[in-house]
């Protein structure tokens, strides 16, 4: 009985901290409509700062608590709102999610820069672990009492704020109709900033409280993800109700503690289960809770994508293959292998283009589907041993098919979810897979078969061999991956231009309208999820075999999130956005860090500067992600638009191509190094539209919109341009006349 009470108290304490974190999340979501994935990262930053002040610089505990919770917490929230969140009005769910994910990653990089992750940092409980009281054998520490009291105070405080004060009532109105608040004489920005400051304070408080409860060791990744567990609690209240959020948090805390306490010790997976329990509960709660009905009105967002024609896609695909071939001639073998790895990531990113870009469904864990395929290929698709071991094409095919089925199975319960809820469900799946399957390294016996899903924590995946095509050679792998990427990309563009693609686009724009036109949304979602999972699976197997071996960490949720973020930065509606996102997340980071580490090694006096620059570059990558709020259609979109203006300025285009050819020949003959070639090429590509505007202003200039068609024939292109500027759906070629 005493044991039970002890564990119950432990569970309640854990639940109390979850509740504090989750209520902050609910607060910001309800006032701004933004689900803050960076909530945990904010908690993490605040906790590290608290550690630095108290243990690093020896400030008194109460003073650092005032500084961190009273000053830095609110300031961080207010700054986030003023600099970033304010600009996220009228953007699609995916943009909002990606921006907060970018903040999460940026804060992680920042903390790893300031606080080296390999140093051990321990945080003690308030008043020390020894300060405790005892009731009939049950020991409660002062720190735990503080946690419980803080949670209770916050529950009451929020209740009073939201129902008994005008500013709280106005906060609740903010998300419904900020314009109406203005008409009533309130400033919605100030209200939102206040709520972000409050939410951030709650996050920081939760971080400071939970670290000693969870053992006391500070670890950036774990702390960031630990508060993500609070998502599950927030979901109990459907992101709206604070009391239900508190109840959910308690259930979560108790369940996690009881699993740890009462599961038999010989169930080796119980520890993994405990870690992933919040995610399982999140998944279940998402599925079980009643969902909003389909809303009738289409939400007009700022994202714009235009679908290229298949002919254009084929041309671009051929150009890509030729370009990669020419580039490969410049590179040494290691670079080629790295490049090949990046290309396999680009294939995984294509799964996002079709799912998110075309169909508007979200998947935050694309790499997890890659992991599923890799495990299947590892267990069933390898022939030969040692150096002669090869992946068979049948094995890869089986892996892709199984992944498609798994994708369908994950999607099946998630089919009724939309937007943010779907994103959270996929994330829950990803974290669950990381914790349960990819850590399943010990052997167990089931139905007489002894196996482990992820033996030794590393899978050695040999290269693929299809007839005479052997991918052991890096160059062959790179070219095969590129050709595969091009083929899938062309296929996707063709799909987008088909009736099926238009149905997907319709579902994305307005599920209600699409359902009313007789579309079977469930079938559409199911199909596109399976397709997307299959593509991710193929990319995952190739990625594993390109690297030679994979560990569970290769498929970590953070890696998935960074891939999603960079793909959105590139432009999630375009296959070229997938190319950008895949290459950047697959090898971009490696190259950036590698370059600066090489520089640091080469010039010892400058070592610290170059190392700092490397860290800065990582943080800057996340900054690009935050910039998505300003430019939600992606970088590729901007580049296309600037080149579209050059269409009539042929001399400029030819000049640019010639300059590029000269650069290439110079690089090939060794006159300039590869590094210079890359930098100059990037400059040329970026600057050409600018030169074009300077050199041939008449050809580049566009007619002001209101004068379109006045002194020139009214062509279909002009009509399309008007549609585009007015934010109407892109014209569908011949079909349009039938509609009009």
């Amino acid at each position: 009985m005493t044991t039970f009470l002890t564990f119950t108290i432990l569970g309640l304490v854990l639940g109390a901290v979850y509740a504090i974190a989750a209520s902050g999340l609910v607060l910001t979501y309800n006032t701004s409509g933004i689900f803050n994935f960076a909530h945990g990262a904010q908690a993490m930053l605040g906790t590290f700062l608290y550690w630095q002040l108290t243990y690093g610089w020896g400030l008194p505990m109460w003073l650092s608590l005032i500084i961190v919770v009273g000053v830095v917490g609110p300031a961080m929230g207010a700054a986030l709102h003023a600099l970033i969140m304010k600009g996220l009005r009228d953007t699609a769910d995916v943009t909002k999610i990606v921006v907060t994910v970018a903040i999460l990653l940026g804060m992680l990089f920042l903390s790893q820069w300031i606080w080296h992750p390999e140093d051990a940092r321990i945080m003690e409980m308030f008043f020390g672990a020894g300060a405790k009281v005892e009731f009939s054998g049950v020991v409660i520490r002062y720190h735990e009492i503080i946690c419980l009291l803080a949670a209770a105070a916050i529950a009451v405080g929020l209740r009073v704020l939201f129902t008994r004060s005008r500013v709280g009532v106005v906060m609740r109105g903010a998300v419904d109709d900020p314009d109406l608040l203005r008409r009533c004489g309130h400033n919605p920005d100030r209200i939102a900033m206040l709520s972000w400051a409050l939410g951030s304070t709650l996050a920081v408080l939760a971080g400071v409280l939970i670290t000693p409860v969870g053992g006391g060791a500070l670890e950036a990744n774990a702390l960031t993800l630990l508060v993500i567990d609070a998502f599950a609690a927030a979901m109990f209240g459907r992101l709206r109700s604070i009391p239900r959020t508190f109840a959910g948090a308690m259930v979560l805390g108790l369940a996690a503690t009881y699993v740890a306490a009462y599961f038999p010790t010989d169930w080796t997976w119980a520890g993994n289960l405990r870690v992933s329990l919040p995610m399982i509960i999140l998944f279940v709660v998402l599925i079980v809770l009643p969902q909003d009905r389909l809303r009738g009105a289409a939400i007009r967002t700022r994202e714009r994508y235009r679908a290229p024609t298949v002919r254009k896609a084929v041309t671009s695909g051929a150009a890509l293959v030729a370009g990669v071939f020419l580039l490969a001639l410049l590179m040494d073998d290691t670079s080629i292998t790295t490049f090949g790895l990046g290309m396999t990531f680009a294939i995984i990113a294509l799964s996002l283009t079709v799912l998110t870009g075309y169909a508007g469904e979200l998947n935050l864990a694309p790499l997890s589907f890659g992991a599923v395929a890799t495990i299947v290929a590892f267990h069933f698709g390898i022939t030969g041993t040692g150096l002669a071991a090869r992946l068979t094409p049948w094995g890869v095919l089986l892996a892709v098919l199984v992944t498609a089925v798994v994708g369908g199975l994950v999607a099946l319960p998630a089919l009724r979810l939309r937007g943010l809820y779907l994103a959270l469900a996929t994330m829950a799946f990803g974290v669950f897979l990381s914790n349960m399957v990819l850590r399943d390294t010990t052997e167990h016996t089931l139905f007489g078969v002894t196996f482990s899903l992820f033996p030794n924590g590393t899978l050695i995946v040999p290269p693929l061999q299809v007839g005479p095509l052997d991918l052991r050679d890096g160059r062959t792998l790179l070219m095969t991956a590129t050709v595969l990427f091009a083929l899938i990309a062309i296929g996707l563009v063709a799909l987008r231009n088909s009736g099926y693609g238009r149905r997907l686009a319709a579902m994305k724009d307005s599920p209600a309208a699409s359902a009313m036109l007789g579309q079977n949304l469930v079938k559409l979602k199911f199909g596109v999820f399976m397709l997307s999972a299959a593509i991710a699976g193929l990319g995952g197997v190739l990625m594993a075999s390109a690297g030679g071996s994979v560990a569970g960490d290769n498929f970590h949720i953070m890696a998935s999130l960074s891939l999603v973020m960079l793909t959105v930065v590139g432009g999630i509606g375009y296959v070229s956005g997938a190319l950008f996102g895949g290459l950047m997340s697959g090898v971009g980071f490696t190259i950036i860090i590698g370059t600066f580490n090489d520089l640091a090694a080469a010039t010892p006096p400058m070592e610290t500067i170059f190392k700092s620059l490397g860290h800065l570059a990582m943080v800057a990558t996340a900054l690009i992600g935050m910039g998505v709020g300003k430019n939600p259609s992606g970088m590729v979109h901007d580049l296309f638009e600037s080149y579209r203006a050059l269409r009539n300025a042929r001399p400029v285009l030819i000049g640019g191509a010639a300059a590029q050819a000269v650069l290439y020949v110079l690089a090939l003959t060794g006159v300039i190094g590869n590094w210079w070639f890359a930098v100059l090429t990037a400059c040329l590509v970026m600057m050409l539209p600018v030169f074009g505007r300077m050199l041939a202003p008449t050809a580049v200039r566009e007619t002001p919109l209101e004068l379109v068609g006045v002194d020139e024939p009214y062509t279909p292109e002009l009509r399309d341009r008007l549609d585009r500027e007015l934010g109407l759906a892109p014209a569908l070629g011949g079909d349009r006349h039938a509609v009009a």
């Binding site: 106005v170 109105g173 419904d176 203005r182 008409r183 400033n187 007015l726």
Partner: protein, 245 residues
């Protein structure tokens, strides 16, 4: 002479509370108001009429401070206020009730009235004014506003004008989606407010509802006020302009 809109007729006439002169406004690159002239004198009711897409709602948004002016001048009581924010406009005494339902569906009736006190009124006064005019709201004070009927929601929206003592009331499509009886009741309330000295600019697609209480009517087509004058004169032009004749 009943003149709220036309050119100034004499030195003795007080400055209009709300005046637009040559106002232009745009959504992104597309200009939708091409120079609107309009004036609402103290204690007058100006009806803004015209078919869909004529620019009525955009004009209302400009007056409420929700859409910035790109050309011309917006004046409150003779003072140029181009670029005024909506919250400042509200504090200056411009009470604007938007198209559709100007309420927060997820707040209770009482909380809606509480939010309405953002311009400096006291909750008790607002509640008293609202409940005495619309007793049904008093019965439902703790009910979510979203669960009220359409007419009750519009009563709640209009209550903001009752208790906060504004100088100008902007009403956009008050009659939209309401039963004729409710519409009459609404406009009775508006007429009572006018009798107490409030100035009103009301945009309506269905002219019949508003013309009886209007001092002046203005007809908007394609982003311009094409004619303004006594309600009876404008009513005669309506059918031809609605039907494009």
């Amino acid at each position: 002479m009943r003149d709220g809109t036309g050119a100034g007729s004499g030195a003795e006439e007080p400055a209009p509370l709300l005046e637009l002169s040559g106002v232009r406004a745009a959504y992104g690159p597309i200009e939708v108001l091409h120079g609107v002239d309009l004036r609402v004198g103290p204690g007058k009711v100006v009806a803004l009429l015209g078919p869909n897409g004529g620019g009525k709602s955009t004009t209302m948004k400009v007056c409420a401070g929700l859409l910035p002016v790109t050309g011309g001048e917006l004046r409150f009581a003779g003072r140029r206020v181009n670029g005024v924010s909506a919250e400042d406009a509200a504090r200056l005494g411009v009470c604007s009730i938007p198209e559709g339902r100007g309420i927060f569906p997820n707040l209770t009736v009482r909380e809606n009235l509480w939010v309405a006190t953002g311009t400096g009124a006291r909750l008790r006064d607002v509640e008293e004014a609202a409940y005495s005019r619309f007793p049904i709201l008093a019965e439902r004070r703790d009910q979510l506003a979203g669960s009220l009927s359409g007419g009750q929601q519009q009563m709640l929206a209009l209550s903001r004008a009752l208790g906060t003592n504004p100088a100008v009331l902007l009403l956009d499509e008050l009659s939209m989606g309401l039963a004729p009886m409710i519409v009459t009741q609404m406009y009775d309330t508006v007429a009572q407010l006018v009798a107490e000295g409030l100035s009103v600019l009301v945009a309506e697609q269905f002219a019949r509802a508003v013309l009886p209480i209007a001092d002046t009517a203005a007809l908007m087509l394609n982003g311009r006020v094409v004619s303004a004058g006594a309600p009876a004169e404008i009513e005669d032009q309506l059918s031809s302009s609605y039907l494009g004749g």
